[in-house]
């Protein structure tokens, strides 16, 4: 019997090629989106679960309360580890790791001229590879980190610095506070993509203690905040509460100034709980599963709608089968088998689509997922569950509808009146188009807002400015570098700033008479060319010949006048900065020095003469304004040559100021890209749904169309007649979607201090797009019906 079902399913599939294609593709697209999101969500949810002891590993964190302000301490002191183990019977062992906070310069001593800047240097206690489950390709877990200046490198790094040779026993140079030679004692598999501990180099903690800057990390001798991640392996996962209580008890007995609170977080919860780096991911994690379910639901609805729309074609078959002895259950089973087959095909196609578009999707999310993760049991389990669920749901409605056909009616070809479901279909089509229209509106608003942010006048000219970070290794040579770059033909002016633009600023507090009047003043240390090079405008220019470049003078912006309650023209006023009195030397007009999500805050510019040697020891950024029509690559090349003349230690790199500005909206860019993708998919699905509805409804009206034609209706009248009903649904969708989308976007825009007003035409645009799509879709059926020979349609009645 099963074979018979499959046979007829396949023959129908072949016979109805277009429908089958639309049906399978629609479901496949929905499934592909679902799989991709599922992959992403599963990946996020399984962080750090691969450690054999995952259930017993906890991270110790603390928070202290300073006058009502809670300060979270993610890192503990070096001494905390042994002290905690000593005092807590529930702790089996501890592991301290320190993520070196800045990139280091790495080279193979055999080829010292090839240097790279590398990130992810971790210093760890000797038991690192026993404590965590990271596999060693070479080296023994217990020994690799036992000596100072021994390092385990990742497979990627082994390949990069040693090629195909075995690196164990060889040496590698890592420049932290100064350059040290390490012995490579092991090679570790790259950390899985769902690991919150990530490394290129794992060096012994004893190396850190032997470094010049060691005292920065190891000074504190009590259990307190510090620089190290402190992981505890508990003897029993159930000990968590006791250990926490006991630690807290110890803290409460401490007669320190501040009230300390200890937290033990399971390693498996760290990734989602401490999403410090990128909040947007957490946001996506909430939205995405919803989107996945929604899109899959739309796809399933389409599938069911299209399948039952074709029911008229199968009605006779159902009748014959029933007359031949098929029970309703047998017919339902048959259509279940058929849905199962379609689902399987869609699933396969969906999986291929998911595989093909995965890199693109992950790129938008700025995420890496190991290929091996795709075949992990949990993912396979989820995929199987998805297949089962889809097959189950997709079969329900067609089975119920088709198995209910009465042979008495279907065998006489009078199906149309009894197949029903028109209202259901109309509701679904309206819903689908509402979602599509809503997404179009949101997409356009997000796009407009991003355009506005990128192109708004921020008060400084960020076009054609290249920013070059200069490390402290340049020493006294900085003024010479600056002068040489200035002398290049393509460069119109050069300025220096401690931070890259949009890369940060310092903060200091100016105390007011009351606490509320205290002002957090952002400050930038810049040279005297900064203002002119970036095209900042003076509100009150300093007096000619004023010596700006002294540490007692400050240039402020307009907001600072207001916030510091200075006179309208504050030049010459004195700002009391605690131990220091600062004289306002001039006022620049407001400009955005950070993201446009916030308003322009008060700012002070400390101006230093570029001839001082301060830059050489602090490190800084050189800004070069490029003349129009300059060959940029060749200019960058020239700058690089100059740079290398003065500094062979720190590799050369550069960014353009406008890129840096745009980069601040990365999260929004991703949101926009994902929105537009989801929008396209929803439109596609909605269109397919409408296609099915139109086919179904028009087929039901065949006789009516035939009679109208015989009575003299023109093709145009009939097409209009058939289309109007659907267009009403689309208009209804626009009416439903517009306020919802407006509300959602209105709220989103509140995140930005600088924002657009939602223009009325967005709604009109979204509405027209939906209408045009709908008209094109319906026309196919309407025109076909209008062109049909009425003799045929009436005879079949």
């Amino acid at each position: 019997m099963f074979k018979n079902y499959l046979k007829i399913a396949f023959r129908n599939l072949q016979k109805q090629k277009l429908y089958s294609l639309i049906n399978i593709t629609g479901l496949a697209v929905g499934l592909a989106v679902c799989m991709m999101i599922m992959l992403y969500v599963t990946h996020e949810m399984t962080y750090d679960r691969f450690h054999a002891n995952a259930k017993r590993i906890y991270k110790l964190q603390a928070s202290i309360n300073i006058g009502g302000n809670v300060m979270n301490m993610n890192y503990m002191s070096y001494a905390s580890g042994p002290l905690v183990k000593q005092s807590q019977p529930g702790v089996e062992s501890y592991m301290r790791t320190l993520d070196y906070f800045k990139p280091v310069i790495v080279s193979n001593p055999l080829t010292p001229e090839t240097k790279f800047k590398e990130e992810k240097l971790v210093f760890a206690d000797p038991a690192f590879f026993n404590f965590f489950t990271f596999n060693l390709k070479a080296g023994t877990a217990g020994d690799v980190l036992s000596k100072p200046f021994s390092v385990v490198i990742s497979q990627d790094m082994a390949k990069k610095y040693f090629g195909d040779t075995n690196p164990v026993g060889k040496t590698i140079r890592l420049k932290t506070d100064s350059a040290y030679t390490y012995q490579v004692t092991g090679v570790a598999e790259n950390a899985p993509s769902n690991s919150s501990i990530n490394y290129n180099f794992v060096a012994s903690a004893s190396s850190l203690l032997a470094m010049k800057e060691a005292k920065n990390y190891t000074g504190e001798q009590s259990i307190s905040g510090g620089s190290f991640n402190l992981f505890l392996l508990l003897k029993n996962a159930a000990d968590t509460a006791n250990t926490r209580k006991s630690l807290q008890h110890m803290a409460d007995n401490n007669k320190g100034d501040f009230k300390t609170q200890y937290h033990l977080s399971s390693i498996t919860s760290l990734h989602l709980a401490n999403n410090f780096g990128d909040f947007s991911n957490l946001k996506y994690l909430k939205i995405f599963p919803l989107v996945a379910v929604l899109i899959l639901l739309l796809a399933l609805v389409n599938y069911m709608s299209l399948t039952t729309a074709r029911a008229t074609l199968r009605a006779k078959e159902v009748g014959v089968r029933k007359v031949s002895g098929a029970s309703r259950k047998a017919i339902a089973a048959q259509f279940y088998v058929e849905s199962g087959l379609f689902t399987l095909l869609s699933f396969t196609l969906g999986y291929l689509l998911c595989y093909a578009f995965k890199p693109w999707f992950l790129n938008i999310l700025q995420l890496k997922i190991d290929n091996s993760f795709l075949y992990s049991p949990i993912v396979l389990m989820f995929l199987f569950g998805l297949l089962l669920l889809t097959a189950l749901i997709s079969g329900i409605y067609p089975s119920i509808v088709l198995s209910s056909f009465k042979p008495v009616i279907t065998l006489k070809g009078k199906l149309s009146r009894q197949s029903g479901g028109t209202v259901v279909r109309k509701v679904f089509t309206t819903l689908q188009f509402s979602i599509a229209v809503g997404l179009i509106i949101c997409g356009v608003v997000i796009d407009r807002q991003l355009y506005y942010l990128r192109h708004a006048d921020t008060g400084l000219n960020r076009e054609n400015v290249v920013m070059i970070p200069v490390g402290n290794s340049i020493g006294k040579n900085y003024p010479a570098l600056n002068k040489d770059v200035q002398a290049l033909a393509g460069v119109s002016s050069v300025a220096t700033s401690h931070y890259a633009m949009y890369g940060g600023y310092d903060m200091f507090f100016i105390e007011g008479k009351t606490k509320q009047e205290s002002v957090a003043l952002a400050s930038l240390s810049v040279d005297n060319k900064f203002i002119s090079t970036l095209g900042l405008e003076w509100k009150f220019a300093p007096t000619p010949n004023a010596q700006l470049a002294t540490r007692t003078k400050i240039v402020i912006n307009e907001t600072a006048i207001k916030d510091l309650k200075l006179p309208a023209n504050p030049v010459g006023s004195i700002i009391d900065a605690g131990n220091q009195k600062l004289e306002v030397a001039g006022v620049v007009k407001n400009f955005n020095f950070s993201s446009m999500e916030s308003t322009i805050g008060p700012l002070g510019l400390f101006i230093a003469a570029d001839t001082t040697q301060a830059w050489g020891t602090m490190g800084c950024n050189l800004f070069a304004r490029i003349k129009p029509h300059t060959n940029i690559p060749s200019l960058i090349g020239s700058i690089e040559n100059i740079y290398k003349k003065y500094d062979q230690e720190t590799p050369f790199s550069y960014t353009f100021m406008d890129d840096a500005f745009d980069k601040q909206y990365k999260a929004e860019d991703r949101l926009a890209a994902i929105f537009s993708t989801f929008t396209y998919i929803t439109i596609l699905l909605a269109t397919l749904g409408l296609f099915g509805l139109a086919a179904f409804t028009i087929e039901q009206r065949t006789k009516e169309i035939g009679i109208r034609k015989i009575l003299g209706a023109s093709m145009a009248t009939i097409t209009t007649l058939l289309s109007t009903d659907f267009l009403k649904l689309i208009l209804l969708s626009v009416i439903i979607a517009s306020p919802v989308a407006w509300y959602a976007m209105h709220n989103w825009l509140q995140n930005f201090a600088y924002r657009i007003n939602i223009p009325w035409w967005v709604f009109a645009l979204a509405g027209s797009m939906a209408l045009i799509t709908a008209i094109v879709t319906i026309s196919y059926h309407a025109v076909k019906a209008a062109l049909a020979n009425p003799v045929n349609s009436l005879r079949s009645e």
């Binding site: 019997m1 018979n4 006779k316 078959e317 014959v320 031949s324 029970s327 259950k329």
Partner: protein, 225 residues
């Protein structure tokens, strides 16, 4: 075999009630060949549908082989039907996506006959209907007469006790029509009870008895000699 008493069937719309069968009483004995005739709308098809258990009556009794079936649910009716009744339609009602062999095989699948037994029985009946050479063709590739022979093959493959034929020659020319009537007569002579609805006096003459209906009631019965 069949005994119906005071059978009633109404079709209701919001405003009108149409009586299709009006307290109809009749009996058909095992081995009989009965023709039912009457003008359009007299209730012929409704009667045939009820006799075939495709539809249920609103009032009255229907005893099939000694079992009262008038108020059976769909599942029970389907069960009784598949073992006892074969159908032949005016428009053949073959499934376009299945071959001749597969169409005929269908009732055997639903009665759970094993695959080997199915092949044997289908081949047997195709042979008898003289369309064995067309076994792998699809319905569209056959003439009307051949299609109706396939339909009859399908109706009899399960060896039903009763065959219900709804204008079996209505879509055929006279030569093919006669062939079909000969086939039905043969089947009847081998013991199958046949009830046939027809407009054709010529076809009705093949039967033992003609029941004439008007407005849902029997108006005349002719016994053929």
């Amino acid at each position: 075999m069949i005994k119906i008493t005071n059978l009633e069937k109404f079709y209701r719309t919001e405003e009108v009630e149409t009586i299709a069968l009006n307290k109809l009483t009749m009996e058909v004995n095992t081995g009989e060949f009965v023709a039912i005739m009457g003008p359009s709308g007299c209730g012929k098809s409704t009667l045939l549908n009820i006799l075939g258990m495709l539809d249920d009556p609103d009032e009255g009794s229907y005893v099939f082989n000694g079992i009262e079936v008038a108020h059976f649910n769909e599942r029970k009716r389907a069960d009784l039907r598949k073992h006892n009744i074969g159908f032949v339609f005016q428009s053949f009602n073959l499934i376009d996506e299945l071959t001749v062999f597969e169409n005929v095989e269908l009732p055997l699948i639903y009665t759970g006959v094993t695959a080997a037994e199915r092949v044997k029985r289908v081949e047997e009946v195709l042979d008898k209907m003289q369309i064995m050479h067309r076994r792998n063709h699809y319905p569209q590739q056959l003439s009307g007469g051949q299609q109706q022979r396939v339909a009859i093959a399908r109706a009899v493959v399960n060896k039903p006790k009763l065959i219900l034929a709804d204008e079996p020659t209505g879509n055929l020319d006279s030569s093919n029509g006669n062939d079909v009537m000969e086939l039905l007569t043969d089947l009847n002579e081998q013991g199958t009870t046949i009830i046939m609805v027809t407009h054709s006096e010529h076809d009705a003459r093949y039967s033992h008895r003609i029941i004439r209906l008007l407005d849902g009631q029997t108006v005349m019965e002719n016994i053929m000699v």
